[in-house]
């Protein structure tokens, strides 16, 4: 019982929850290559407003405001650590790897080289009700990134 709970609430997750990285919206949402989305988890009310700035195929910045549980908050913090400054294709690979871990029902062995602190979320995959908490900001990031890409392409043509 408590081992499962401890697997869910790893120290890394609780640290990110108490001291979130990159929190607070930054930059000008109307500048080129920037997109902002608002995602909610309708069943529980968790919310995130997330802003992505893409430039020259690189994730220049990801910032966010959010309210929600420890899992959703820590997950947003870890996401920003992993993707800020990364080439977009590499960030997309990290996103896909995290998605597979979360959807793996606890059967997927996390790749620490790719996921770094995000391997702490491996325990979440065993709690189906919490997977959507962990994925909230990641889905918001993917959505905002697609919009920022479209914005970049629009201004380039």
């Amino acid at each position: 019982m408590s081992t499962d709970l401890d697997a869910l609430y790893q120290e890394i997750i609780l640290d990110h929850y108490k001291h979130p990285h990159h929190k607070g919206l930054r930059g000008d949402p109307s500048s080129a290559g920037t997109a902002e989305v608002h995602h909610v988890n309708p069943t529980c009310g968790d919310e995130v407003t997330l802003r992505v700035h893409l430039d020259d195929g690189v994730v220049r910045d990801v910032s966010y405001d959010s309210v929600g549980c420890s899992i959703s908050q820590a997950s947003a913090s870890v996401l920003t650590d992993l993707v800020i400054g990364k080439p977009l294709d590499e960030a997309m690979t990290i996103h896909q790897t995290f998605l597979e871990l979360m959807q793996g029902k606890g059967q997927v062995e996390p790749d620490e080289d790719v996921l770094e602190d995000a391997i702490a979320f491996a325990g979440v995959a065993k709690f189906p009700a919490r997977v959507k908490c962990a994925l909230l900001s990641w889905m918001a990031w993917k959505d905002a990134t697609a919009q920022a890409q479209a914005d970049n392409e629009g201004s380039a043509s």
């Binding site: 019982m1 499962d4 609430y9 529980c44 009310g45 968790d46 959703s72 919490r130």
Partner: protein, 411 residues
């Protein structure tokens, strides 16, 4: 403890699920009855017996099983009519749930530009969104009673809200989030005084209060089966017979007609007017059995039990540092659902830690986002008791909350 059901241990034996254990061998402490209640063996048996021995479609099958099934279904209508003290069995319409019953009313009561509908800020989403849709369709105006800081209806502007253009006043009897018990008879009288129809959402009241539609003197009242120890998939719309027969049909189909030609149809009177298609037959049988079970124990006794447990829980929650209870703080002014915040820990995380100890509560907005917003809260944790809840289970909750604080290193 005074007020508890005298044969609580016997009652608990009626509910087989209460004996099961969860992961790690911990016993179940079920404090989520406002979400759905557990089912006594007698309800389960009534449904199994129907399916094993009497299953057939109703009202159309010209054979013995059809007659037995029809009789069982219609007996359930009598049982519900008795449960509500309805003047006529024709006033009991079976629906899918309370939400469908509210939507039925919001779809069939005629509204137009210049009319208004008055609801309250403490409604479940089902009693908000259905009227929002009706007002958007018809051009009617949606108004609502606000809430006081204590979590009660703010009646100070009642005379401005309800006027001669008000067609419907729809309100909950007991709030599913704040627990507040509303003055339903006064609200029904206020509606009538202005020529408006009153609609009472009794989803949280029916499990724990005596529901007497003649005493409340309302026009319509809805509740759901699964919160009164019955199955899911069935709800009830009660309405004054004359009013029901004046409403246009809701769903078209079999069993709701008098006669059908290719050009036009005429419609049956209530209740069949609103029961198109094959209804939830075995669910009705289970619901009839469930309301008989509650009446056998006695709604007055159940209410006393809920008040005793609620008072004990309010006391226990006060011992946990950082707990803030929403809604009235006196048990006598509220139902058995208590929503609260715990400083520094999100409701999801509270529910998760409690679950690891076998304590089942609800976390989130409980389909009452506006009521949460009114108190500046995004989500809350809700414990809700019922006739099978023991003081020891409340102790388990309170201990669990102390443990949650230490687990998340709060304070």
């Amino acid at each position: 403890m005074e007020g508890l059901l005298p044969d609580l241990e016997v009652i608990r034996k009626d509910f087989p699920i209460l004996e099961r254990t969860l992961a790690g061998g911990v016993p179940l402490v079920y404090l989520d009855s406002a979400n759905t209640s557990q089912k006594p063996q007698v309800v389960i048996d009534s449904m199994v017996d129907h399916l094993e021995r009497h299953n057939a479609n109703i009202a159309r099958a010209m054979h013995q099983l059809g007659a037995e099934s029809t009789e069982a279904f219609e007996a359930a209508r009598d049982q519900v009519a008795a449960f509500l003290n309805a003047p006529s069995r024709n006033e009991v319409v079976f629906t899918k749930n309370a939400t469908e019953a509210l939507n039925l009313l919001a779809r069939t009561i005629e509204l137009g530009p210049g009319d208004n509908v008055v609801i309250t800020e403490m409604e479940h989403h089902s009693n908000i969104v259905s009227w929002q849709l009706a007002c958007e369709r018809s051009g009617a105006e949606l108004r609502w009673f606000g809430l006081t800081d204590e979590g009660e209806l703010d009646m100070s502007n009642a005379d401005q809200l309800v006027d001669e253009h008000t067609k419907v006043v729809a309100f909950t009897w007991v709030s599913n989030m704040l627990g507040t018990i509303n003055p339903v008879a006064d609200l029904a009288a206020l509606a009538r005084a202005h020529g408006a129809l009153s609609v009472v959402d009794a989803s949280q009241a029916a499990p724990q209060l005596t529901v007497d539609v003649q005493a409340v003197d309302c026009d319509f009242l809805v509740f759901t089966g699964h919160k009164v120890c019955g199955p899911t998939g069935i709800g009830v719309l009660w309405g004054r017979e004359q009013l029901l027969n004046e409403l246009p049909p809701f769903h078209g189909g079999g069993e709701m007609i008098e006669t059908v030609t290719m050009a036009r149809s005429t419609y049956a009177k209530a209740p069949h007017r609103f029961e198109a298609g094959t209804p939830p037959i075995v669910e009705a049988v289970g619901l009839g059995c469930a309301v008989d079970y509650l009446r056998h124990i006695g709604l007055e006794a159940i209410h006393r039990h809920e008040q005793a447990i609620t008072a004990y829980a309010l006391e226990g929650l006060q011992t946990v540092p950082g707990v803030r209870v929403m809604g009235p703080l006196e048990a006598t002014r509220r139902g058995g659902a208590i929503s609260f915040e715990l400083d520094g820990v999100h409701p999801h995380d509270i529910a998760q830690v409690l679950d690891s100890r076998g304590v089942a509560v609800r976390a989130g907005h409980h389909c009452a986002k506006p009521a949460h917003a009114r108190f500046g809260v995004q989500s809350s944790t809700r414990m809700s008791s019922y006739l099978y809840t023991t003081p020891a289970e409340i102790d388990a909750l309170v201990e669990g909350l102390h443990h949650t604080r230490s687990y998340f290193k709060v304070g």
